[in-house]
Subunit: 415 residues, 2 copies
């Protein structure tokens, strides 16, 4: 375990500098970094090869090796990501509201950086560039703790980013990579309240749980998604099939994919057959409750555990309910607060579902797959928050900011 305080101090100093930086100056760094990443592609690929060899030697599955692997095209995509961040508006310094109080005080709410952000993530090395770009644009210093699998790639990339900072007169402390791969180091990081303003974990459920359980620094939880599609009594069943097929199979390993369908008993006989037929073409295994299995023999029996499982795979659970109330209760009990959809033609049921479902994004007649910063029009995405404090749902640049009140007076004292 290494002493992280020097890293914390360096980050705080950089954050103080960054808070004063102009948008043009920050954009210049981002453009330099984009150019330098492209230029250094060979070096990055060489470092990445070391990670890949080590991973294969340790017996990593090829699907995971692929997440780790960089190519020229992937490096170019990282550089392009930085150029896109340049094109986004800089929210820092904007005064959101400014009001005159009866005593003459002029009070406004200024958008400011959070300060120092720690990002803890797993194997994809592109997160190193992405996290830096988003934090830097919003004036935050960032401390990165990537997965040990990607350590050589990350060191190489972080070095390039620091050089781009240095060339433009910025402190290299704007981005720091913790190279130590000791697990205790992460735990120390999680308790550095004096230096770190917020911790954002990006990765699987295990990583996120570990961070939430151990951190005394505030955390933005980017969560897992046990997303449901509820097929109402009045649903257009063809629309329901299209949406469920999309939400389940368009991409399976993502948090906004559908993991469970909830079906009103009035349509369960017809719909269970239609769904089995539609999804069998995509090799989806459907795990149904007793009622559904009466009508559709291909369904595997579902257990209580299925209702709470995020498969991230070609598996779907199927629950029958006798009313929209039961559907809402079921979903609120088992969901992870991510994305939920109703398919309905009924006005009242649509409004009830929107109001009563407790989740970051609630849909009427659309696929849960839209829960995404780009699809929502933010131009960037830090992650999808499933907590209720600070930011909920897809997070754009504003999620990396705070505010402070600025008050213009002329001698006012309190009576």
């Amino acid at each position: 375990m290494i002493d992280l305080r020097p890293i914390g101090l360096t980050a705080r100093e950089a954050a103080f500098f960054l808070n004063k930086a102009k948008t043009d100056e920050k954009n210049r760094v981002l453009l330099t970094a984009a150019e330098d990443l492209t230029k250094a592609a060979e070096d990055i690929l060489k470092a990445n090869q070391k990670d890949i060899q080590a991973a294969r030697a340790a017996g990593m599955k090829e699907s995971l090796v692929d997440r780790l692997k960089l190519t020229k095209a992937r490096i170019e995509a990282m550089a392009e990501g930085l150029r896109q961040i340049v094109s986004l508006d800089d929210p820092i310094g904007e005064v959101l509201e400014m009001k005159k109080r009866p005593n003459g005080l002029l009070i406004g709410k200024m958008v400011v950086p959070l300060g120092v952000i720690a990002m803890i993530y797993e194997s994809r090395p592109n997160v190193t560039v992405d996290a830096f770009g988003l934090c830097f644009k919003t004036g935050n210093a960032v401390v990165l703790k990537g997965g040990s699998d990607a350590i050589h790639s990350n060191i190489c990339i972080a070095h390039i980013l620091q050089e781009a900072l240095d060339k433009n007169g910025f402190p290299t402390g704007c981005v720091q990579l913790i190279e130590d791969t000791d697990r205790e180091t992460v735990k120390e990081l999680l308790r550095m309240n004096e230096y770190i303003d917020v911790i954002i974990p990006r990765g699987g459920a295990g990583l996120i749980r570990m961070v939430v359980q151990n951190s005394t620094v505030p955390v933005i939880e980017t969560g897992t998604g046990n997303c449901h599609v509820y097929v109402d009594e009045s649903a257009d069943l063809n629309m329901a099939l299209d949406i469920i097929e999309n939400a389940k199979t368009q991409r399976t390993g993502v948090c906004n994919a559908c993991e469970s369908v909830v079906v009103h008993e009035a349509v369960v006989e017809k719909f269970s057959k239609l769904l089995a037929e539609r999804l069998s073409k995509k090799n989806v295994e459907i795990r149904g409750d007793e009622i559904a299995r009466q009508f559709e023999g291909s369904f595997v029996p579902a257990t209580e555990e299925d209702w709470g499982t995020e498969y991230l795979d070609l598996i779907l659970s199927f629950k029958t309910v006798s009313s929209i109330d039961e559907a809402i209760r079921h979903i609120n009990k088992y969901n992870t607060g991510h994305s939920e959809a109703i398919i309905t033609r009924d006005y009242e049921n649509a409004q009830r579902f929107l109001n009563e479902i407790d989740a970051a994004a609630v849909y009427v007649n659309a696929s849960t797959r839209f829960t995404d910063g780009f699809e929502f029009g933010f131009g960037a995405e830090i992650g999808i928050s499933t907590q209720k404090l600070h930011a909920r749902g897809p997070m754009g640049l504003m999620a990396l900011t705070s505010t402070k009140y600025i008050i213009y007076g002329n001698g006012q004292v309190r009576k």
Copy 2:
């Protein structure tokens, strides 16, 4: 230690009910509660007497006994507080932004309750009513853990609130008081992520630190205030005297009181004498650095520890600096992120101070004592947040809300 899960479950059920309640219905409960508190004044005073007797028997200081003590007037003020909350706009259900995406999806951001809020507080029994009123108006169920000193008063008050809920057809689970005074119970509460959405501690630095260090549930830190007033080279010294006197002495035991003055060396000779003269009338002890003490013999020597101390008493530290840069550095190093002021006639220095000081509220030419939800015009105050996530500075009703995205589609799937 008691099992808190039944309380958690009951709160979640109540939160689900409350999420659907209309503003009129909620206001009716608040008005009933206000009326019933006034009517039950004798019972409350009797319960309060038990707390006071126990406190005195345990040797509690009279100044603390006073915080615990209720009178008819204080009970009436609690009832009046509820009536004021009735008059505030209900933020729940408002859709903050609604935009049409190119694919036809209509995406809006709806203000929703946080869900279940736990409030952990110390001796003042009025917080029981206040916390309930604010949480309830914003559709949140609240779990209260008051100080053991006030347990009889709190039980009596909570009972009255629950009756008011019941009379109006609301579940009594909207407000629950944890009667167990075991410290381990609080620690269990801090780890009930499944049932509680946010924890708000209200009290001294020790309580807040304990909550931050032990909670896995997100916390809104309502903080301590080591607030500074910086007297710039160009300051109007009379204005500086008025503001410092106000910020130091108008009320001493509060978080927005001034604890330290930072003075530019160009005015230190003159200002140290003026300040000593002004504050000696209010019996303020001033602890000065070496430079200041050369000019003003009445100053007590300040130590390094003084710069970081929130006295909450008639004591003020006095630091001399050679530039605004040094002033900003000093304040950013020792402050607690609460409220900071500059007294200046210089445009550039005013703007630099506003931009570079890292605090919830930054003032030019006004007293730090204005950092307050009522003074800021919010009509209510839950506390003053000194953290950067979710809410910063005085918190009004909006700080007790979250948002969820609602999306109206007509069959959209992701490509």
